[in-house]
């Protein structure tokens, strides 16, 4: 299948959408709560659990408040995009499907050096881990490839395979651009004019960086964290049509997690406290995961 090589950030995304749609995935839109990684979208964390098949792909804006550099670093951002694919159960030819997606975005696999380098992924805040690789293209990590073994402290069975592409980095590589803000966002030859990644996000990086490092009121963040934490079990205790309100409860876990990241960026969390906060979020996540699996198995 021949495709035109993408020319812009957005066409890279569209190419991946088309490719994974052709493989039969549901193409979703981002989750509308701040998250630190595409994995945290309920379409991955929750749908990876339970017996039902699930195949989806989506872009997820991801926020890492501590990574902000006021727009001055060419490849570090506090807000960036991950492309996420979840295939459950993982198909036998998942590696081939993945390699096909690289070809689709214009990487010639006989010219580039593609390697699968051991990387055992884990995300302690959601009690998740899996085995897989970092995928390297010419020495650069272009994707994370994981066979989930546990999520929310529960075994994942059947196993879900997860692919995460760091879109900005991948795009910089494919387009040979050294500074993320120079990435063409739309077709640079467009009749309506070229727009760069910087045109869209540079000011956002500046303002958000200042807010992340100096703006947020730590006591307010802390209060909100505790409120969210207290709400999760209450929400799970409430039910509709016989089902505990897992999905809203999980949104609150995500909010708590983001609030933690903000407190962390503000330097408000001592090293010794870190583990305890992560443990608190993980406990909330486990509660949601258990309730979700119960509903899935009952259905």
């Amino acid at each position: 299948m021949s495709r035109e090589k993408p020319k812009s950030f957005q066409s890279l995304i569209l190419t991946l959408h088309n490719y994974w749609a052709e493989q039969g995935c549901v193409i979703l839109q981002p989750h509308d709560v701040e998250v630190g990684a595409g994995t945290l979208h309920p379409a991955t964390v929750l749908r990876a659990l339970g017996p039902k098949p699930w195949n989806a792909a989506y872009v997820q804006p991801s926020r890492r408040p501590g990574d902000g550099r006021y727009g001055e670093n060419p490849n570090r951002l506090q807000h960036y995009y991950q492309y996420q694919v979840i295939l459950k159960p993982n198909p036998e030819n998942m590696q081939d499907l993945y390699l096909g997606s690289l070809e689709a975005i214009g990487l010639d696999l006989r010219t580039h050096d593609i390697r699968f380098v051991e990387d055992d992924w884990e995300n302690p805040t959601v009690g998740a881990w899996g085995l897989g690789w970092e995928v390297w293209c010419d020495g650069m990590e272009v994707s994370q490839y994981t066979y989930f073994q546990q999520v929310g402290g529960l075994d994942v069975s059947p196993v879900a395979g997860e692919l995460t592409y760091g879109l900005e980095r991948l795009a910089m590589y494919v387009f040979g651009v050294d500074n993320v803000y120079d990435l063409p966002f739309n077709d640079p030859d467009s009749a309506l004019g070229a727009t760069t990644y910087g045109d869209v996000f540079l000011e956002n990086e500046r303002q958000q960086s200042e807010a992340n490092f100096h703006g947020y009121d730590v006591s307010v963040l802390k209060q909100q964290f505790e409120q969210m934490e207290a709400q999760v079990p209450l929400m799970l205790a409430r039910s509709y049509q016989g089902k505990a309100l897992v999905l809203p409860a999980y949104d609150m876990v995500l909010k708590a997690s983001h609030l933690f990241n903000l407190m962390n960026a503000r330097g408000a969390i001592a090293v010794a406290e870190r583990a305890s906060y992560i443990g608190r979020i993980r406990d909330l996540c486990k509660m949601c995961a258990s309730a979700w699996v119960e509903q899935q198995e009952a259905a």
Partner: protein
């Protein structure tokens, strides 16, 4: 004789697990084959990024028939015993033969066909393989290191038929993912298999992959007048990351050469798995690198080199950023941060640890001839770099960065060197610090660790040593011995820690080929000065290699046996022997020898001239031999004095070592 070829083909196996996997496969196969009565003429295994392979030569096509004799119940035994036996043997009573009052069963066991045994063996190996970490995938319950895709299993060119969790055996495998035809191919024996892999761009044998990498690197270097900075650990790793390893030389922006070479090498090695290179005949790094690609690219590797160069640039830009940020901050704010870093829940923060190390280093300094003020300053700053951004990114550069930053900030050279070297030695091949300030801080660092973890009862047990206390103790021992330091360890730790040091020292000396009984004989004296202990062991070792030494040891044993035997009859007389009253040359001789020995022996020991002390002891050999051969100890009127004489021999020798612990 038939050949067995087995290949377990999977998705990419972590490089660090491959060598052990090849060993485990060989061991398991040998065990299974041996249990079936097979002894292959040759058996070899291979491991690579996507496959484990076994080839065994010289298997029969079936087991030999076997006759088994089973002993049954006695004649006249209760019927239950007979029933049980018949059930177990699968026989009826008329098939039994009576022999010497016992029923015997003679069972003919038909040898089973080898394919059956092989099928069972492969299943047992796959299901029981000891991967350090394994996983399930898809809807299968099978565990493997990564998804297992194919099983090639042929015996004597025939597929051994079986399936494991839906994965059927066959005679098909795959070569390189991208190079060549990139299609599966058939292999019915090892020759076809090896030739097929070669044709499909896979180097099967890891040793060949390593050679290919080194050869390739050297060729690239030669053409550019460069030299490879060899790195065995990296070589092992990259040999497990490529089926068709192809070195590619790339360029690094020379501006990064202003970074410390350790930073560049660490970034290359840990992040990118690149080899560093230097200009032929020079020591610093050259602005190039070599990456080991898994492909001979259509364009000769130009795209690969350029891509990798870009990644390295961005890595080194990060490192440069960390350096620039770090030198804006400096030691004092870092030290402040260590207040928030827990060292261990029961041992407080890193800042508290620093305080302890400062105090300890201050105590050690005068003992090793170090300037106390400089030592304390170095100890105070030694851990600061843990809070730097560079060490946050490259933990293995702890200490080294502290040294660089100290020099950057214009600190005293001795202080900088002590900060840099205070983790040393970090392994058996690492050098120990030799400058006095460095020695004091390095010792304080390790002693604080040891004393702390011993105090909270976190001692190593068996194979568990999570805080690397054995390494720390060994570090202390090496620093002391290699610098010939005179320290009394009891100053720094309680009995259990001293015993731990003694234990480690024994291991060290044993590794150097010293007899462990000599080490025990010297340790029994209760000394805690390692240099002195070692000097004694060495002198003793030399002495026991002489005739005098051997004979004196024999004499000692005879004397102490007599003493032991007599002791059983009642308490031995105490006190120094008196001049012998019997008219016996042997008695007079030994009495005089002991008297003459006393002073020079004590002097030699006081001067720690242990070889001299041994020479003095050697003077006893003749008199002791004559005494033991010519004097009857148990003569009633002389018994007391003669036992005192033997005890005096034992005690004199006991000042040098406990000869009783030395083996014959």
């Amino acid at each position: 004789m038939p050949q067995l070829l087995l290949e377990l083909f999977s998705e990419e196996i972590p490089a660090r697990m491959q060598a052990q996997a090849a060993k485990d496969l060989e061991r398991m196969a040998r065990e299974h084959l041996a249990a079936a009565g097979f002894l292959p003429e040759a058996l070899k295994t291979f491991a690579g990024p996507r496959r484990l392979t076994l080839v065994a030569e010289g298997l029969p096509l079936a087991q030999a028939d076997r006759k088994e004799e089973l002993k049954g119940p006695r004649v006249g035994a209760p019927p239950q015993a007979m029933e049980g036996f018949l059930r177990k043997a699968g026989l009826t009573q008329d098939q039994l033969v009576e022999r010497d009052g016992v029923y015997m069963a003679f069972i003919e066991k038909k040898g089973r066909p080898t394919p059956e045994i092989v099928a069972e063996m492969v299943e047992a190996i796959v299901r029981g393989f000891p991967w350090p970490k394994s996983m399930i995938w898809g809807t299968k319950k099978l565990r493997w290191v990564r998804p297992l895709k194919r099983i090639l299993c042929v015996l004597d060119r025939e597929v051994v038929p079986f399936a494991i969790e839906g994965i059927p055996s066959g005679d098909v495998t795959e070569g390189h993912r991208f190079m060549g035809e990139a299609k599966p191919f058939v292999a019915k024996d090892f020759d076809e298999y090896a030739a097929g892999l070669e044709a499909h761009y896979v180097v099967l044998d890891v040793e060949e992959r390593k050679e290919r990498i080194l050869e390739g690197c050297k060729t690239l270097c030669f053409a550019r007048h460069l030299e490879l900075v060899e790195d065995q650990g990296l070589l092992e790793e990259v040999a497990g990351l490529a089926e068709w390893p192809t070195p590619v030389l790339g360029d690094m922006d020379p501006v990064f050469l202003s970074l410390p070479p350790e930073v560049i090498r660490t970034s290359m090695r840990t992040h990118q798995k690149y080899f560093a290179v230097r200009k032929a005949g020079e020591t610093g790094l050259a602005p190039h690198f070599i990456t080991i690609a898994n492909i001979q690219a259509a364009d000769g590797g130009a795209v690969i080199a350029a891509g990798n160069a870009k990644v390295l640039s961005s890595r080194l830009s990060d490192a440069r950023f960390f350096w620039d940020e770090d030198v804006k901050v400096g030691f004092e704010p870092w030290l402040e941060k260590l207040n928030g870093v827990t060292f261990h829940a029961k041992l407080g923060t890193m800042a508290q640890r620093v305080e302890r190390i400062v105090a300890l280093a201050g105590e050690i300094a005068p003992l090793v001839g170090a300037d106390v003020a400089k030592t304390k300053e170095a100890a105070r700053l030694a851990k600061a770099d843990l809070a730097s951004q560079m060490v946050g990114e490259f933990p293995e550069l702890q200490g080294i960065m502290g040294g660089y930053y100290a020099r950057q900030f214009g600190l005293d050279a001795e202080v900088a060197a002590a900060i840099e070297g205070h983790y040393k030695p970090q392994g058996p091949s690492d050098a120990v610090p030799t400058a006095p300030v460095s020695i004091a801080v390095a010792l304080a660092d390790k002693l604080d660790t040891l004393v702390g973890f011993f105090a909270i009862d976190e001692k190593p047990t068996g194979s568990k040593d999570p805080y690397a206390l054995r390494r720390a103790a060994l570090g202390v021992i090496r620093i002391i011995l290699e610098n010939n330091l005179r320290l009394s360890l009891a100053k720094f730790g309680k009995d259990d820690l001293i015993a731990f040091f003694a234990d480690r020292l024994k291991v060290t000396l044993r590794d150097q080929g010293k007899r462990h009984d000599l080490v025990d004989a010297v340790f029994a004296l209760g000394d805690d000065d390692l240099a002195r202990i070692v000097a004694r062991v060495e002198a003793l070792d030399g002495f026991l290699k002489t005739d005098d030494g051997k004979n004196l040891l024999a004499g000692y044993k005879r004397a102490s046996n007599i003493l032991k035997a007599e002791e059983k009859k009642g308490a031995l007389p105490v006190g120094a022997p008196e001049a012998p009253t019997a008219d016996s040359d042997a008695e007079v001789g030994l009495y005089n020898a002991l008297r003459l020995l006393d002073k020079p022996l004590k002097e030699a020991l006081a001067q720690e001239d242990f070889t001299g002390a041994m020479t003095q002891l050697a003077e006893l050999r003749g008199p002791v031999d004559a005494y033991l051969d010519g004097v009857f100890v148990n003569e009633p009127e002389h018994r007391d004095n003669r036992l005192k004489t033997l005890a005096a021999v034992r005690d004199a020798m006991g000042q040098v070592a406990d000869f009783g612990l030395i083996g014959g």
